[in-house]
Amino acid sequence: MRLEKCWFCSSTTYPGHGIQFVRNDAKIFRFCRSKCHKNFKMKRNPRKVKWTKAYRRVHGKDMTQDSTFEFERKRNRPERYDRNLAENVLKAIPKIDKIRVAREEKHHKNRMKGKKQKLHMEAVRELEQGISLVKAPSVLQKDPFLTLPKIKVGVSQQQQSEENHPMEE
């Protein structure tokens, strides 16, 4: 019961899922879905396909350096069983996972830090460039603000007598 990672998109492949390609130099390529398998057959580079983990890692969109990654690794040398150690490891796994999730969220927040300011500056620039679409230049000279004057609309109320008439049957 070993969980492998897809060669293309790096997602986890559970037993009974996906497909495996063994090349004639004995190198193994595992794929989680036919989507990844087809992309591999089309000779696409995972680092250039935006929905893969490899792309996100290369372009800094995911956390790449963290000590919590060291706990999950392929161990090519079996450990002798120790009951106390196994119990401690099982106890520590949810704690490690919680820490990893918190750090990933922190990384995402840091990455998005300058987003609001950037959007605001873009909006200001758009206003400055496009104000003439809704405000004529002659009006702009008199009133050089980037806001529009409020327009008052008169609303006439219906007469009370008409509403109270019952319908004739």
Partner: protein, 119 residues
């Protein structure tokens, strides 16, 4: 009268010629070529004699994985645009491997345990 024959497919016919089939199925993978190119010169064995290959298998382009019948044809191949593109590609970053996929998924480097004593 007229109409299209349901079995004759232009796309299938276009992609079934020799060059396209070879490019798709017979070429070495990028990582195999990359490993061969980065091998030090001492380990590169001379090309074995093979009567089934053109030119006894002695005129070989490693980047494109092709055999040629003599030196002149091979040197002519070295001038082609496809070969130059291939050289540029091989001088770039290392190709993608399963290790890269594992690291991107959040796994650490593999643990190979202690080094065994040499006999």
């Amino acid at each position: 009268m007229g109409g299209k024959c349901p079995h004759r497919n232009v796309k299938k016919r276009r992609y079934s010629h020799k060059t396209a089939r070879r490019t798709k199925f017979e070429l070495k993978g990028d990582d195999m070529v990359y490993a061969q190119l980065n091998k030090p010169d001492e380990e590169r064995a001379p090309l074995p004699l093979d009567e089934d290959l053109p030119g006894m298998g002695q005129y070989y382009c490693l980047h494109c994985d092709r055999y040629f019948s003599n030196v002149a044809v091979r040197d002519e191949h070295f001038k082609t645009k496809r070969h130059k593109k291939r050289i540029k590609q091989m001088m770039g970053p290392a190709p993608h491997t399963q290790l890269d996929a594992d690291v991107a998924a959040g796994m650490g480097m593999p643990d190979n345990g202690p080094k065994l004593m040499s006999m």
